[in-house]
């Protein structure tokens, strides 16, 4: 009975081998985090958590990640709309646009940071003009925000684009036919339609910005209270005080897992309610 196999497979759930491989994948994702919890110097943790350096790095990280997420939303939603509409474009510009949005995902963050320095540094392609009017970005908190926005933007754009392509365009067309301007359609129809995608994108975006390391240290440097975010503080601490490093990593974990768990299920990335 050659055609009974798929039916019984769906009834019984995935084959054993799928479960086993999924288990290995999950172990790969979860066990390293478990190792942090197991090797954490728990008696010292409370003191390390309220240490001034920890609170300073935490405050800076949350502040910059929130600003970056807002920037990603403001800039990324329109970009997602353009990307979703680009399916009607000729092949070359369509692929170029998609590649441009994907680049920060595949570029090593340190290279991204160097690229930002070459563009916006005080001798950079654009940076020299900014410097001429008295604005220098590297080594400022603003540089941290730019680096985080650069690496986190694709997460938002792709989440929103996915939601847009799944949305029913007829509602927008109906609104337009009733006389709504394109901007009004965007604000009152499109945005509410893709709200779950926007929320999912924003969460991923925030988590990525919070964990940003390579582009930040290259473009913004590392100075306590100005540019030294939690990941950088954790890396520096790992060089001579592993307990301090683990404490900082725990703070990062708690904040990002907290944000993910705090959101309603259907807003989580990958869950379509």
């Amino acid at each position: 009975m050659p055609d009974s196999a798929p039916r019984s497979a769906t009834r019984r759930g995935p084959a054993v081998v799928i479960w086993v491989i999924a288990g290995i994948a999950l172990a790969l994702l979860v066990l390293p985090l478990l190792a942090i919890l197991l090797s954490a110097p728990w008696p010292r943790i409370p003191a390390l958590l309220v240490a001034p350096e920890t609170l300073q790095a935490l405050g800076l990280s949350v502040l910059t990640a929130v600003i970056s997420t807002v920037l990603c939303l403001v800039l990324g939603i329109p970009l997602a709309v353009v990307l979703a509409r680009s399916v009607a474009w000729p092949v070359i510009p369509r692929r170029l646009l998609r590649a441009a949005v994907t680049v920060p995902l595949v570029l090593p963050p340190v290279v991204g940071g160097l690229a930002l320095l070459l563009l916006l540094g005080r001798n950079g392609v654009l940076g020299r003009w900014l410097a001429a009017v008295g604005i220098t970005l590297p080594f400022t908190t603003g540089a941290v925000v730019i680096a985080q926005t650069f690496v986190a933007m694709p997460f938002l754009v792709f989440a929103v684009e996915g939601a847009l392509r799944g949305a029913d365009r007829r509602v927008e067309l109906a609104a337009a036919s009733l006389g709504a301007s394109p901007w009004k359609v965007f604000r009152t129809i499109t945005i509410p339609l893709v709200a779950p995608g926007v929320a999912a994108g924003a969460v991923l975006c925030f988590a990525r910005a919070l964990g940003e390391f390579g582009a930040t240290i290259t473009f913004a440097g590392s100075y306590p209270g100005v540019t030294r975010t939690l990941p950088i503080a954790s890396y520096l601490a790992s060089q001579n005080d592993l307990s301090q490093s683990i404490a900082l990593a725990l703070v990062l974990l708690v904040v990002s897992v907290g944000v993910l768990l705090g959101l309603r299920d259907r807003w989580l990335p990958g869950v379509r309610g």
Partner: protein
């Protein structure tokens, strides 16, 4: 169970491929030289960022003398490398930019023998060739508006910078504290900072990409460079031979050329 047996077959195929690939290195043919070189295999060297040029050069020369040996080098902040070794990173030879960092590895019982100090290094002040802030002495680093890059205190060049600035009785507020000396040098080369404190050897290797300004007290803040074979080494014979090569007259000449001092 068609799908799972097909997956199993695919896994087996990939596995067989890996095994074959592992075996595909041709066995060494009969030696044509009269005295076969007893050294072979890979030597993994973890070395301070400031050793990048000179160790790279010495490794290439060593590999020419011993064609069956491959030297793999990983340069970085001494402290980060020491932390990797303490956490069990496989390596054969370890070279730091100061003795304090080496001590974290010897204290953990991971060194095979006592580290040998074979070179010294001192800091110097470097500025971009255009010298945008008009820095002429180390005292200018304390001026407001002068953008200074230093190493973080957790790495040897950072503790040396703190020592040097204390000796000069200067209170400097840097714009960034970098994780290794090469990162400081890069920021000066890119003209993103007005000045930085790096090792004389880094200023030497950067050539005319930076301008060097002498610091009077620099000679009093000396970093001593130790090297040691690690107890976890799986190729101690070759690791020890490369260590001896660094300590040899050839090694000493290369180090002197790069701007290192003798201990």
């Amino acid at each position: 169970m068609m799908p799972s047996s097909r997956v199993a077959a695919a896994v087996a195929l990939v596995w067989a491929g890996l095994v074959l690939a592992g075996c595909s290195t041709p066995p060494a043919g009969p030696s044509t030289t009269t005295t076969p070189d007893p050294l072979s295999g890979t030597v993994t060297v973890l070395a301070a960022a400031s050793l990048t040029e000179v160790y790279g050069d010495l490794a290439a020369r060593f590999e020419k003398l011993h064609p069956k040996v491959t030297i793999t080098e990983n340069f970085g902040g001494s402290s980060a490398l020491a932390a990797q070794i303490v956490q069990g990173a496989p390596a054969d030879l370890f070279a730091t930019a100061n003795e304090a960092t080496m001590k974290t590895v010897t204290d953990a019982g991971l060194a095979d023998g006592t580290p040998v100090v074979y070179a010294t290094n001192v800091l110097t002040l470097v500025v971009p060739p255009s010298n945008p802030a008009g820095v002429t002495t180390v005292g200018d680093l304390a001026k407001p508006g002068v953008k200074v890059a230093l190493c973080d205190k957790t790495v040897p060049c950072g503790s040396a910078a703190i020592g040097l600035l204390a000796a000069e009785k200067l209170a400097v507020t840097p714009v960034t504290l970098e994780t290794d000396v090469k990162a400081v040098l890069t920021k000066v080369e890119l003209d993103e900072v007005d000045a930085g404190l790096v090792y004389v050897t880094d200023a030497h290797s950067a050539g005319d990409k930076v301008r060097q300004i002498a610091v009077p007290d620099a000679a009093n803040v000396i970093n001593r460079y130790p090297v040691v074979v690690l107890s976890g080494s799986t190729n101690k014979a070759a690791a020890r031979a490369f260590e001896q090569f660094i300590l040899s007259a050839t090694g000493k000449a290369a180090l002197k050329n790069a701007g290192f001092g003798a201990p």
